[in-house]
Amino acid sequence: MTVQLEQHIDPKLIPILEGVHDPEIPVLSIMDMGVVRYAQMQENIAKIKITPTYSGCPAMDVIGDDIIDAFTKVNIKAEVSLVLSPAWTTDWITSRGRKALEVYGIAAPLSEEADKEALLGNKKIVKCTQCGSIHTKLVSQFGSTACKALFQCEDCLEPFDYFKCLK
């Protein structure tokens, strides 16, 4: 468990890593999540470092196994390790990732300020992913996974997840 200050990824490995998805949000590749911090070939072994979204995220073990599987399929041995610093932030989700979230029905994280207002219920700013209305309300600060909060649309009445801003 170390520190990986700068993201350092060999472009040749990106297509393989893009084939691995978050098991809890399958529309999102781990590259779009921004959890891959390091990927380099060293003596014919792909050394991959990933960082957890939340400390207790149970998806990390599965993601680690899936990375090894993805590399095994193209006959490359891979080793996966976990880094904690710098801590993951929702800013690392790519714009393609944000779009994929919205299409999947999860509202993408707002800016830090807006997020606070939304989660304290002060302002109606989280858009319903079904009908686009901003007449939505916070149902719970904690949702189906550690990274999400639960909202409900007051127009179409659909409940939906909001990906919490993490800075």
Partner: protein, 251 residues
């Protein structure tokens, strides 16, 4: 400082997260409503995740073939260094929230200092944890206000919980010999220096919640030395059952 003292220092932080995480896990499926049930299990998950990071580091420091699971499941009661506050059993929801609030405020202050540790790994775990614990503290503070400034009954129940649990809060700031050594080496945190800010933060929330800090002069401690309350044995028998009954079993 010697590795063994450093390990003991880490237990003093990590065991709180494990034991409080275990208490919150007990509520899975038993929360007063779906949203609070999910919230409490989410917080349990964060705490157990942090625990894993600490224990993985301890396993690495020990230099033997010990794993994070051995550390979590195979120590005896006296070897756990958590404070008495976090092992107190779940009673009604107001009681659970009060215990959580008292720990969250401390936890946040602790991690804000621990992130400056000269130990790279502890600093990294703290930085990650701050983001999660800020969220916990917001949740428990909101509920303290809602219950305290709620109905006559909710006010009374949460005030009773405060009156019962406040005596465990002083131990949070108690420095063991290992804490002193860690502080000298710029690894650890001076918890005594956190107390004033702690009381102030608790008071701010209580004022808004129309609740009061009891005027207790007597405080209970012992957990940080491994001397626990009677509740700890029951908790551990639940926590350790599977590994004791089926050694080395895996999910």
């Amino acid at each position: 400082m010697k590795n063994e003292n450093k390990i003991q220092y880490i237990y003093g932080i990590a065991d709180n997260a494990l034991i409080l995480g275990q208490r919150l896990s007990e509520l899975c499926g038993h929360g007063p409503n779906l949203e609070t049930d999910i919230a409490m299990t989410n917080m349990a998950l964060d705490l157990l995740g942090q625990t894993r990071s600490y224990y993985q580091y301890v396993a690495q420091l020990s230099g033997d073939d010990k794993t994070e699971d051995d550390i979590a499941f195979l120590r005896s009661e006296r070897q756990y260094k958590n404070v008495l506050l976090v092992e107190q059993p779940n009673r009604h929801f107001g009681y659970v929230i009060t215990r959580q609030f008292f720990y969250d405020v401390f936890h946040l202050l602790l991690l804000q200092e621990l992130q400056n540790s000269s130990d790279e790994t502890l600093s990294a775990i703290a930085k990650k944890g701050i983001k999660e614990v800020s969220y916990h503290q917001r949740f428990s503070s909101d509920w303290i206000k809602r219950l305290g400034d709620g109905t006559e009954e909710s006010h009374q129940k949460v005030q009773e919980a405060i009156d019962d649990l406040w005596r465990f809060t002083d131990e949070l700031f108690h420095m063991t010999d290992d804490d002193d050594m860690a502080l000298q080496d710029n690894i650890g945190v001076n918890t005594i220096a956190l107390k004033e800010r702690y009381v102030q933060m608790v008071k701010e929330v209580f004022d808004e919640a129309t609740l009061t800090i009891p005027e207790t002069k007597w405080f209970q401690k012992g957990g940080k030395q491994g001397v626990h309350s009677e509740h700890m044995g029951y908790l551990l028998s639940d926590l350790q059952y599977m590994q004791r009954a089926y050694p080395n079993m895996k999910w």
